[in-house]
């Protein structure tokens, strides 16, 4: 029954998600996750809001740095996978909601808000809303940590990225069951949400980026 095998393949997205992401980024995704966690946690006990926690790859690292985590994802099967990574009783609050519903969480309550590889899955208007509301959830001096696929800067790198995207999009669909589109101007969108970028990092010729931002005065 080849169709059955194919069905399993299509349904098993969360199982394949991590391995798929690793393959797509040549392993860079692990370094990206580590950088995200390092930027998000200053000291043990910090409250961190993780939007789009997925299978919990970043959540594990946040907990290793002893952060108190509020992890939100709209996909129940992703949350199930993430939950299974932790012993019961860990200080993690799991919320099954869309990113657009973070406005129900208290304002100014988090040392950091983390958006790792989830912003590029949203539409432009969703991103604007979520970034604005994420900024409001930050405590004074708090940090917004964004890591995602972006448009490479410079014409040559940009052209290379465009060429690479066609096979990559096909591969991404097969491996993780979804195709995202890189964010054209991450810095610009952060600024529009009332944030200033403090620090930036790049991987894979500038196609993966990390930005740490705080609320502008």
């Amino acid at each position: 029954m080849s169709s059955l095998a194919l069905m399993r393949w299509l349904e098993g997205t969360p199982d394949r998600y991590d391995a798929g992401m690793r393959a797509l980024t040549f392993g860079r995704v692990d370094r990206l996750h580590e950088a995200v966690a390092a930027a998000a946690v200053e000291k043990p006990g910090d409250a961190v809001l993780e939007i789009g926690c997925g299978t919990g790859s970043v959540t594990v690292l946040l907990r290793a740095l002893q952060a108190r985590v509020t992890a939100l994802d709209q996909a129940p099967e992703m949350l199930e996978q993430a939950r299974a990574r932790f012993a019961p009783g860990e200080p993690i609050e799991w919320i099954e909601r869309t990113a657009s519903e973070i406005d129900a969480l208290p304002e100014g309550a988090f040392r950091s808000v983390v958006l790792s590889l989830c912003l590029s899955d949203m539409s432009r208007s969703e991103r604007a809303f979520v970034l604005r509301e994420a900024a409001r959830r930050l405590a004074p001096g708090g940090r917004l940590v964004v890591a995602d696929e972006v448009h490479s800067r410079g014409p040559i790198r940009r052209a290379l990225q465009q060429l690479w995207r066609i096979p990559q999009a096909a591969l991404a669909w097969l491996l993780v069951g979804t195709v995202s589109s890189p964010i054209p101007d991450l810095t610009g969108e952060l600024e529009a949400a009332g944030l200033v970028v403090l620090e930036e990092k790049e991987w894979l010729f500038g196609s993966l980026a990390l930005a740490v931002a705080e609320r502008s005065a």
Binding site: M7, E11, A99, S123, S125, F129
Partner: protein, 364 residues
């Protein structure tokens, strides 16, 4: 509309009709039609480009807000059944599109065919917007917005010739590329005739197929193989051409007659276990909210006004889309098989269909 826009739209219309089986996303967010104000109606749809363009065209002459939800470029029916147009996407679109700042009311009209995926009551709980399911077809919207009333015709899905031909085109185009492309390697002169053949088969499948009765697969395959081989031999085709001509109709028949549940809302599905499940109504629980009556694309329900309940009067027409089960606030509807086993409403709400029409994708 400028000449360039008209040309662009026409090209897109042709391309998207031919390749409508693949997702075609357009930017999600808020659009306006005419000059809407704070009391104008709010409509919400998927971000399948063809749908959005046709919806905006159908609304010409109206003043309305259109919220486009991010459904991965998939059409309303497929996205709703497959979990990509669920409560999540609707809540997110209503909250992030900025529509709440443009209108004073909180009423949103969704396409009726989104009812399999969107839990109207949950949308209200989560973002305080009241969902009403409008007509099936966008063409009925001006009349619906004018009177505020959904007629019986607006509720029922029909499959007229124009829709059938569009579905045929959407199968013929990729199949022509596949089979015509194969022929280019083995018997190039037969590439074009083969494209014509698969197109004819697709049109036949969507127009006369239903009338062939039992053994229709065999009849269709045999007829087209005979025509194809006959023509090839008559025009002196070689062995390769004859083999391609005989092989193509057989493979195309297999492709066309495989049960693509969801290709049209009118096809039930026969290859899967789901077939033996039938819709069941628990009249005790029914409180006459009539949500099922409102969303059923086959008009299986009749209102019993005197007792304020519904009756499953035409369950023979049921296509097991689950819209009524999903929307019933009393959980009075569920699927039951011949042995009396039940699928509870929450399972139908939670598990969406995969590409093979099986209810196994968890979406909520």
């Amino acid at each position: 509309m400028t000449a360039a826009t008209i040309v662009r739209n026409s090209v897109l219309e042709v391309l998207q009709t031919a390749f409508r089986l693949v997702p075609w996303p357009t930017e999600a967010g808020l659009r306006s039609v005419g000059s809407p104000d704070e009391s104008s109606p709010v409509l919400l749809t998927c971000n399948y480009d063809l749908t959005v363009r046709r919806l905006l065209a159908a609304l010409e002459g109206c003043d309305a807000w259109v919220v486009v939800a991010a459904t991965r470029g998939i059409n309303v029916w497929c996205a709703a059944a497959g979990g990509h147009m669920s409560t999540h996407q609707v809540v997110s679109a209503l909250k992030t599109s900025g529509v709440a700042d443009r209108v004073r009311h909180r009423n949103v009209i969704l396409p009726q065919l989104a009812a399999t995926g969107v839990l109207a009551l949950d949308v209200f709980r989560r973002c305080r917007w009241r969902v009403r399911f409008g007509p099936v077809a966008a063409a009925d919207l001006p009349a619906y917005l004018g009177t505020g009333e959904k007629t019986d015709e607006m509720r029922r899905v029909t499959f007229p010739l124009s829709d059938r031909l569009q579905m045929a085109a959407s199968w013929a185009a990729p199949a022509s590329i596949a089979f015509g492309g194969l022929a280019l390697f083995f018997a190039p002169a037969w590439a074009l005739p083969l494209c014509a053949l698969v197109t004819a088969m697709a049109v036949a499948a969507f127009t006369v197929f239903e009338r062939l009765g039992a053994h229709r697969r065999a009849i269709l395959a045999a007829a087209f193989t005979a025509i194809s081989l006959g023509v090839t031999l008559l025009f002196g085709g070689g062995l390769a051409a004859a083999a391609t001509a005989a092989f193509t109709p057989l493979l195309m028949t297999a492709v066309l007659t495989f049960d693509y549940e969801g290709t049209t809302p009118l096809e039930g599905g026969s290859h899967f276990e789901q077939r033996k499940w039938t819709i069941t109504l628990d009249s005790e629980r029914c409180e006459g909210v009539y949500r099922c009556w409102e969303v059923c694309p086959e008009a299986c329900f009749e209102k019993l006004e005197d007792t304020r309940k519904v009756e499953l009067a035409h369950d023979d027409r049921c296509i097991r889309c689950g819209a009524c089960v999903v929307q019933c606030p009393q959980d009075a509807l569920f699927f039951e098989d011949s042995d009396g086993a039940r699928i509870e409403p929450d399972v139908i709400r939670t598990y969406k269909l995969n590409l093979f029409g099986q209810r196994s994708v968890k979406a909520l």
